[in-house]
Assembly symmetry: D2
Homo-oligomer: 312 residues x 4
């Protein structure tokens, strides 16, 4: 069934919501979900993206994913659009998640490429076209080559932008040559939203034509990222410089404390716990920072919090 | 709950069973499953591995996976051991699949590393240890770096071999320096089974200490691979040479006809359809070979079939 | 021998000069070098970088590299600074090239990591420190992970920035999260120049703290890239938008016409030949575009040239 | 100029000779070269390969490479064939090295793909064909994807095997599916020599059709590897098992002591110094093991030496 999507331009700060978990590292912490969503909405975010990479979607059971979709949509209660990640290796499971999202009242679904097998671009194109044909909600493509082993190449995105149900792309590649190419090639389609993942480059990409940021740090400090977005939209370069410095402080003092790529998630959840918003529990295959690293998180996030309060 | 596994050495030809699908490319073809399993058992295989990479496990819905586990175990009816793939990004889903496998009467479970996030070796070690602690069946590790983005390093395997519930490793890396290192490092644990995936190297690895092959081609010609295994166990190098030549004929004339890595699966299912065993349907994100490539499969597989019949 | 470098901030548009070759695809076309350098200087560039990746340095014999260093410095005659690539797998050859550069009157040397063996970050750090200790000219680090297989990690750059003879970094990774991290971490060292390679992101990185661009397209249209640089320095976002569009036109209609990564070089040299500046010959392992692709280059570059003339 | 090579099958143990260096880590230790070559020849090796990856070729100056070619050929004095590595990013430098090799009396040249730029298979094919056309000595292809970023695909090898001056391939990929495919596809050309690099898989590949091993460990214990080769040629599986165990002991206790890939080279040169054959100096970008790691090398190599003496 083909839904003609209303291709209003989507943009702004859309935090990839972390998934609050209880101490078994598996069960949803519903109180935490409520705290976090109210914190985000109070912070002025333009939408929220549940079940993304930052949301540990792939580490959660399907039961927990369903619960999170339902609880989030209920709490948000249409105050802001909810984006639901349906990335999966099985198209049936993706469609099932999309169906839940639709029923719960979400606005968009987001899908990275199926990520077990290696695909060719033509295979990827056909996959997305078929998926979009069957979805009950408009689809954002999600480029995440470091995790999926495939880049959604520029030409593939351009071809897919022809589908009435595909309304944008979230790019987490950090490769801004790629992002600039998409901005240029899709100039004639201003209703196709190009949004980046990394908060470190949200400002610069908005200055060059991007529409927003799916920024993990906005879980902690939604106002900071909204302010950065507003400065970028207003082309206020002086303001950007001040705010960008805080964003980079977070990157360099919270996200990179451990030995592995998982430091980002561990730092983010550790900081959220320090700020009293949720608990720090993380689903397997990861686990929380140990005490030594947490001490650093605590010290750094308190310093950063003070600076942000001073500024906003 | 920790189960003390009976570490009998496991080995032989254990085909990674393709999953027969109906023409919607999604639903299980139960008649096909029956045909294929009877074909395999009649061919003398030493076990069967369902829900592996060749079995398109990650492309199937969980409902279909459950159905396949139940149907396979019922059909096999304890005539040979059933290995069930429980590879998943969510540990809860892996445990759920394992529980189904146990209930259905399977003998072993097989798990590749969680494959969405990038992991460090220490994270991987802890993940597997925790998984093995909770499993109701003995576990085979499954090394598949091209798909999971992580190699289970030699030292990690050695450490994991200490777990009473981890009984072996299936290596699909095709890197025989790695495999030889494992054979050497684990010499003192002869009950820890080291098995390779690629059929092209089953003979040579058995000659050097390997215990068997999880060979995709055995779906088509189980007798060929069993004969190769027997020749390798008997150290009959002349016989190996003859049989290996047929194995390589399959590799070079069936598995590599298309443009992408998916050619292996497309060729294999196309050949099985030609041989009248199952239909050729493939789950998204892939699709069957088109007519032009299928014509080549038909021509080649008929030639190869004749040669095999002559020989066995 | 340790030279205390004069760490004046280096920046602006510094084209990575293509190396004009004669029809044997090996010998230096000295007339071409002269034409191209005069074209660049007339175009207002702030420096020129010979023997970089765009300059096919690694494909040239050492005799040709020496000749190019000497001819370039003679022609430039101190009108602009000359940067000389000394990237090599042998430290002795790097030092030899640097010695030639010094003698010829060049201003800086540029070195990517040794690119045959895989290195660890600590090994890379020690290598660069030792190299910088022995160089007769100030050194720019050159991050080019796609070609060298190693990223010069942020912490390694910060540590190397302590060396009195290391004055900046050219980043060709296209990863602006990395670049933003460096801008932030090195804020206290404003005389350490951070410059990007890709022309597609020169404007945005300058807006965020970058110092310039080593842009291949400036070989063709130096005035365009200088104008873009000036607009970025002036924070003139409206002007940037207009000029960026032309830059992206070049990227999408000249650099990506063929099947391989070499399309960039083939397109660039083909365009330069069309513009009458040099001949299109390319050193092995590459070769020029064939007629079909060249026809597209000719058509596209003429259209772009007209638009640029209209605008500048 | 096209030389019709005498395609005698080449095989056996052909050690990739380490390059003995003086304490400046750059200059050739001629006495060491003499010691090592006499040690190898006394050990019964079937040839020697200078200027390979183990020989640190790319880290040496061209002057040193020339000196090594000349000294080696003089010392060997036609007692065994000398293979000279001419791998280079510049075809002119490769041809220059080949010319020196020819003049010095070497028998073969060996070339891995040019390794700075990324190439396509068609570009690689044309490059090798052109190179082989101009070489004064027969050429071995050298597959080394971990270092060169490109695999010489099976079809490319088959096409290149048609060139009268290309006589074999040394495969250091450790991927024996690839190697088996080549053995099968080139069965009709028994004079095209397929040889592996890694000593861990020399025995098994010879059992399956390979012709020999370019084994680094043969620098230390040439007799061990020659004995292993002889056992494999004789299909003496019991003897292989005993010898293979020693080979794996070296791999696991000498080559993998440090943190990086360079551990292989550091362990090998450290062991050779312990055995009194050469000094342990290594050219940049690497350096020797420090004392702590060297103590382990010393202890392990002495234990292994005793076991080898007992056995041979």
């Amino acid at each position: 069934m083909l839904i003609k999507a209303n291709k209003t331009v989507v943009g702004g700060i859309i935090p990839p919501m972390v998934t609050p978990l209880l101490s078994d590292n598996l069960s949803l912490d519903i109180k935490g979900v409520n705290n976090l969503l109210e914190h985000l909405i109070a912070g002025g975010v333009h939408g929220v993206f549940v079940l993304g990479t930052t949301g540990e979607s792939t580490s959660l059971s399907y039961k927990t994913r369903e619960q999170l979709i339902n609880e989030s949509c209920k709490i948000v209660n249409s105050r802001i659009p909810v984006f639901v990640g349906i990335t999966d290796t099985s198209i049936e499971e993706s469609l099932q998640l999309a169906s839940m999202a639709k029923k719960a009242g979400a606005s968009y679904v987001v899908a990275a490429p199926p990520y077990y097998y290696g695909l060719g671009q033509e295979e990827l194109y056909k996959y997305y076209w078929r998926l979009a044909d069957s979805l009950p909600l408009p689809l954002f493509l999600y480029n995440m080559p470091s995790h999926t082993k495939i880049n959604i190449d520029e030409r593939t995105v351009v071809r897919l932008s022809e589908h009435p149900n595909i309304v944008g792309l979230k790019d987490s590649s950090a490769n801004t040559v790629y992002f600039q190419s998409l901005c240029y090639l899709l100039k004639s389609k201003p209703d196709f939203s190009l949004i980046v993942g990394p908060e470190e480059i949200t400002a610069e990409t908005i200055l060059m034509g991007g529409k927003g940021g799916v920024n993990g740090g906005a879980n902690m400090f939604p106002k900071l990222y909204v302010a950065l977005y507003n400065a970028a939209i207003a082309k206020d370069l002086a303001r950007i410089e001040v705010l960008q410095s805080l964003v980079m402080d977070i990157t360099t003092s919270i996200y990179t404390l451990g030995s592995y790529g998982s430091s980002y998630l561990k730092g983010l959840k550790g900081a959220l716990a320090t700020l009293g918003i949720i608990q720090a529990h993380i689903a397997p295959p990861f686990s929380c920072f140990d005490e030594k690293e947490m001490n650093k998180v605590v010290k750094n996030i308190k310093r950063i919090e003070k600076e942000i309060i001073k500024l906003l």
